[in-house]
């Protein structure tokens, strides 16, 4: 019986080629921006291929100490085989705060945000500024 390759699940924001993926297991909550109040890293410039798409705040990382990411674009769940999730070389990953690229059939399609680095650094030095998100009244 052939070995079954592990499948990895991602939350994907936006449309290719501007989409951005996050490991689904690390996404604790997805909140509509109108329902969120607090500080969030502003990632709306990434994944914003859909001009008319609404915004969301993703709470990622540890349950007791999540990082809030303000994103723009449709949200979808993506399953990829482990062999399709390729680590990025440092020359790419370090400045961009990206960890992997998802490449089905060898076609690079979506970058994966480096959540481990975000969590470890508490987002200090990351390229996205934190800003306040207020609920709609």
């Amino acid at each position: 019986m052939p070995a079954v390759e592990p499948a990895l699940k991602f939350v994907v924001v936006g449309l290719a080629p501007a989409a951005l993926a996050l490991p689904a297991a690390r996404v604790l909550h997805v909140v509509a921006e109108r329902d969120f109040e607090g500080q969030a890293l502003d990632l709306r410039a990434l994944g914003a291929a859909q001009a008319d798409a609404g915004g969301h705040v993703l709470l990622v990382g540890r349950a007791g100490d999540p990082v809030a990411l303000h994103v723009c674009g449709g949200i979808a769940l993506l399953t990829a085989r482990a062999s399709e999730v390729l680590p990025l070389p440092d020359v790419v990953s370090r400045p961009a705060w990206l960890s992997h690229v998802i490449a089905p059939r060898g076609l690079p399609s979506v970058f994966v945000l480096d959540l481990a680095r975000l969590a470890a650094s508490r987002s200090a030095g990351c390229p996205w500024a934190a800003h306040a998100v207020h609920p709609e009244i």
Partner: protein
């Protein structure tokens, strides 16, 4: 003793790179643009199951700022710190050139040009791929084992 060089074309200019750096010459490869990337390192391709940075060598050499799109060939090159993909317009067969014919470049007409080959007035510059790619790695703040 001969040097083995690969002639490559960027726009209307021809350059030489040492053939031992070249792993493969591919056609135009699909690449994914990196968000907020600088122009020299605009994207990533996939080669043999690994993610490889795309280096806009024409921009680095000051030949063109037109971008990496539309170039018909992609060179996969190996250097001290890893592997990179270089989009070029054309590549010819590897040539053997007498080392004494590769003379030191006078001045700095093009960054990373270390030697030149003058053939009846047609001058081709030899590009130091290792120095070029290592500088890009360092500029990105990559670790010493970057891209391996």
């Amino acid at each position: 003793m001969d040097a083995h060089v690969l002639p490559i074309q960027l726009d209307t200019s021809w350059f030489l790179i040492e053939a031992h750096h070249v792993r493969e010459v591919l056609g135009a490869e699909p690449w994914l643009p990196i968000p907020r990337a600088r122009g020299e390192l605009p994207g990533v391709i996939v080669w043999r199951g690994r993610a490889v940075p795309l280096v806009d060598v024409a921009r680095v050499l000051g030949v063109s700022n037109a971008g990496a799109e539309g170039r018909a060939r992609t060179l996969i090159v190996h250097h001290d710190r890893g592997v990179a993909a270089l989009p070029v317009d054309a590549a010819r067969e590897v040539r053997a050139v007498a080392r004494e014919d590769l003379r030191p470049v006078h001045g700095a007409p093009v960054p990373y040009a270390t030697r030149e080959l003058d053939e009846d007035g047609a001058v081709s510059l030899l590009i130091d791929v290792n120095a070029l790619l290592s500088d890009l790695d360092r500029a990105s703040g990559a670790d010493d084992d970057a891209g391996r």
